[in-house]
Amino acid sequence: MERDELIETLRTQPFLEGLKTQHLEELASMAIETRFEKDRMIFREGDESTFFYLILSGKVALEIASPTQTVRVQTLSGGDELGWSSVLAHGGKNFQARVLETTQALAFDSVHLRDEFGKNCELAYEFMVRLLKVVEGRLQATRLQLLDLYAPRTTRTVLK
């Protein structure tokens, strides 16, 4: 992708909606075009992945794997964000990410991102506010999943 095309692609990403062109240019300089083939694992639970991804197309599943079963807890598609926790530099991944459909993404090395954020507080603020919205959305979705909404009342888990 040419630089101008890359900037326009970033501009259309829901995560970066409303970001100034100057900031889009700064992010474009760090973006790495990435493609993941179907069935590939992008990362596994415990991996020290440093990448944050903006998914352009395709579908990725977040899964929790145990020796007896693998539970798919969320899917992500074009316009979604993958690997938000990498930006926080707190250690290993909490889920594994499996490619369900061949996926195009823009990857950002969070080490570079954090270096840039240290020098550029405005970009850091804008990015982190958006990241917090992603986390809020995931938290809300998880809470709704925990409610087990669609189960018959008789089989729902109720704390007494």
């Binding site: 899964e63 798919r72 459909e101 999943q145 909404l149 669609y150 189960a151 009342r153």
Partner: protein, 284 residues
């Protein structure tokens, strides 16, 4: 939304019509679809999308069940029932040839006349797809009256999804977008995973030209309404189907009173504008 019409006398509305079970389809491990036909030349009444009947499992009890069939196929009624108690257990245990009692149909209808010329957005959760299925059939049979048909459906797991084959068929139709998701999926599930509200980000929606019809657990509907509000939809264009403990079906007994309304007579379908003041009232 269309007004409900009260039958002429109290005795008429309380009269149960016998209906013979013609077919029983198993949808999931606990949900079945019953098709019933008239007995001995008795006519089963026509119904509108969104209406419900009181079904009597003889010797056990009577309960409200939404009609889930095609309103343009007269002479038979279709009900999708999840087994959660003795009466529903008795109903889903029926075999072809068994007779049940039917009263109704009762209640008002989805606002399909008012939605003409617009996109129709259907948002369903779990068994909430059943009361919306007649509305989908109506849109598909009157396709030129509407612009796009958008269907969002959430279920607990792939095994709990209703009408999977139909959802896939509807998704292949022109000007129709169908997105399904499950709360939990195994590795063989290739569709979306997450609550139904997460599907909104994949929807191409024109808020000012859309009528939304929502049915599912009440908490789900609250969060769906929030998403619709965030996307610029007016409260008078969002319609939800409510559920309460309905007994008589016509507003006599008061069991299903909800604020100033009776769910059975004034609903079960309400605009969000109409019902919003009562939705947040604790234990109402």
């Amino acid at each position: 939304m269309s007004e409900s019409k009260l039958p002429e006398s109290a005795s008429a509305v309380m009269r149960t019509t016998p209906a013979r079970v013609a077919k029983v389809d198993r949808n999931t491990h606990d949900t079945f679809t019953l098709t019933v036909e008239p007995v001995d030349g008795e006519q089963l009444p026509p119904f509108g999308p969104g209406q419900f009947s009181m079904l009597y499992a003889f010797g056990v009890g009577e309960l409200p069940i939404s009609i889930s069939g095609d309103p343009h196929e007269p002479g038979r009624l279709v009900y999708t029932i999840r087994s959660v108690g003795p009466a529903t257990q008795k109903l889903v245990s029926c075999r072809p040839g068994d007779v049940i009692g039917v009263r109704g149909p009762f209640g008002n209808q989805w606002p399909l006349q008012e939605a003409r010329g617009k996109d129709v957005l259907i948002v369903a959760g779990g068994i909430g797809l059943a009361p919306l299925r007649p509305a989908i059939h109506h849109v598909l049979r009157n396709r030129d009256d509407f612009v796009r048909l958008l269907i969002l459906y959430g279920a607990r797991s792939p095994q709990d999804m209703l009408f999977k084959k139909e959802l896939a068929e509807w998704g292949r139709l022109p000007d129709t977008q169908v997105l399904s998701t499950v709360d939990y999926g195994g590795v063989s599930w290739r569709g979306y995973v997450g609550v139904v509200t997460t599907l909104f980000r994949y929807l191409r929606m024109h808020a000012k030209h859309t009528t939304a019809m929502v049915c599912g657990p009440e908490i789900m509907m609250r969060f769906v309404v929030r998403e619709l509000e965030m996307r610029g939809m007016g409260h008078d264009e969002i319609f939800i189907s409510m559920e309460r403990n309905m007994k008589c079906g016509v507003g006599f007994c008061g069991h299903c009173q909800f604020g100033p309304d009776f769910i059975c007579k004034d609903g079960p379908i309400f605009s969000y504008e109409q019902i919003r003041p009562w939705l947040d009232k604790y234990e109402l």
